[in-house]
Symmetry: C2
Subunit: 343 residues, 2 copies
């Protein structure tokens, strides 16, 4: 750690006594150079603390080490948690993750994809906005860059899809709720920005019908990603107007459920399974905060780590071998019922 400052690979090659192309090779793959050469480079590396400029590297490389990660809304803890898992796995695999949030806006999503293209990423992990997305734009992007879609389903786009099996998830939850009490009413936003809303609703309807129950859907107004607030406001109004068709509510996602549970508390409605309770509320996602609602929320856990693992793994596969299967590979993870006290 000393001496002159190293400004580029040329200078570093000089002080290490190795030619620049060989040094370049070393950084591309340390195992590709002779042991004695590696030793000399690594010794110099300790003395001079040089690191190649990753953005200059990417200029000529066919395969860069950049991985783009795009989520629709990063302030949503679900995506924050997924992103955290994805980043870690990319780093562990020697890649350089770059994280972007579309902030719920199509223009932003498109802009991110455009910028990402310039970064020449080895691959991209994309959770699209869903309905608000510019599908053509995304498709064009996927044609140029190896892309694995996750969480948010877009038809026939990208090299692979990793998400959750909403049909199974809803069946699981609806089964449980019907078995343990009154059939659930489904609670969602009227204009859902959440990318999976439609599939979940369909899953609910199918599950109810297969049990011989009539589906009952309640929709509340609200714009944007402030789900808790929307659940709180809409739920509160509904409770005041006499409550739901049954004593059981299944929310489209945990954040909506968090709002609804808070609304019930505010209105003095006891939530839970106990004898003195008059409302059961269930969510979906096993949001990081759902275990801290009062009462703790019964929900369906998505295996964040597994989704992240499989997404990254699939992407690396696509990067190395190209999109193998003609109809793109789709991995759907099953959910796990997390029994807590709210339903």
């Amino acid at each position: 750690m000393a001496g002159r400052k190293i400004r580029n690979m040329e200078e570093f090659a000089e002080v290490s006594g190795i030619s620049r192309p060989t040094v370049s090779k070393y950084f591309h793959d340390p195992g590709s150079v002779r042991k004695s050469t590696r030793a000399r480079i690594e010794e110099a590396l300790e003395r001079y603390e040089y690191r190649p400029n990753i953005f200059a590297m990417n200029q000529n490389r066919r395969l860069t080490k950049n991985i783009g990660i795009v989520v629709p809304y990063l302030a949503d803890p679900f995506f924050a948690e997924i992103a955290r898992n994805l980043e870690r796995r990319c780093i562990d695999a020697g890649f350089f993750p770059l994280l972007f949030s579309s902030h719920g806006e199509q223009a932003q999503e498109n802009a991110i994809l455009d910028s990402l293209r310039l970064l020449k990423p080895a691959g991209v992990l994309l959770a699209a906005l869903g309905r608000p997305s510019d599908h053509d734009h995304i498709k064009r992007f996927c044609a140029d860059v190896p892309t694995v879609l996750f969480d948010s389903y877009l038809d026939a786009t990208g090299a692979a899809f990793v998400g959750s099996d909403h049909a199974q998830v809803l069946r699981l939850m609806v089964d449980y709720l019907c078995r343990s009490g009154q059939p659930p009413v489904y609670f969602e936003m009227r204009n859902p920005v959440n990318p999976n809303a439609n599939r979940r609703r369909a899953g609910y309807v199918a599950a109810m019908e297969s049990l011989g129950q009539t589906p009952e859907i309640v929709r509340v107004d609200g714009q944007g990603w402030n789900f808790e607030q929307i659940g709180f406001d809409g739920g509160g109004a509904l409770i005041e107007r006499g409550g739901f068709a049954t004593d059981t509510v299944l929310c489209n996602n945990d954040r909506l459920a968090i709002g609804l549970i808070a609304a019930a508390y505010a209105k003095g409605v006891k939530v839970g399974r106990g004898p003195e309770c008059t409302l059961r509320i269930a969510g979906m996602d096993d949001h990081p905060f759902s275990q801290f609602t009062c009462p703790p929320m019964t929900t369906i856990a998505q295996d964040y780590a597994a989704i992240a693992d499989r997404s990254v793994e699939t992407l690396f596969n696509v990067i190395e071998n190209g999109a193998l299967t003609e109809p793109r590979a789709e991995t759907l993870f099953e959910g796990r019922l997390v029994m807590r006290d709210s339903a």
Copy 2:
């Protein structure tokens, strides 16, 4: 929107009938070229949809348009929300934000700073890990890159600091709690990773003493950033062992309070100000979910938007004029008491 694909500025210059250097000038500042030239370029721009490669631009530019944003832990909604605000403001100002999370690890923070240096960012907005940070590493970085620190205070590092006035915040909260009931016990983690823990504790002690009260601090064990869990576990154990010295608890931050409120609920302890309540719990930060706890949390709001605004504004100032003031500028925002029902 048609014709051949434009691969670089050279090709675009060709189809627009303008020389490449002039085109380059146009992209640097559209107003710097003749009106007729600008018209021709913009016309070609519509026909061919070309955008310069931002990462190649940055290679030679003195001042790039990249802004690095670094937060200690992005899965924490507080930082997610701040990051969202910062990103938006950078985009609006024509910059290109790049977001990184240190994931609570020093090695990660250092690696991010190293990579960021290569991006030749115009400036960096850094919320450091705090205690776990490699202060020397950060200082060296700040010497090379215009950096505004925010939220997490590091002594004499960076060109400016924007954060909150913990002394004022604690005074406000302690005053309120003492005035409205028993004096608060302070609840925190034994080994806080949260960067502001020390200043907050000091603020608590000072505020209590100025009111003639004896500070009482309770510390719970726990590692990492899973604050709710730590608050839940530690708080639950404390409640079982007989509770706190007074009936009022002030938590180091909202997330800890969320856990503690959940623990109280689980143990059947009524939280709030009402006559039947036996525990008051207050937090700090006005975390996005704090209004949905049961009961809704009384806390101190930090003005996310103002902090983000000022941070970005300060950074732009530093970028344009260099670090003006010798002792770096420090902006401390006051908090606002958010009276809800938990205390």
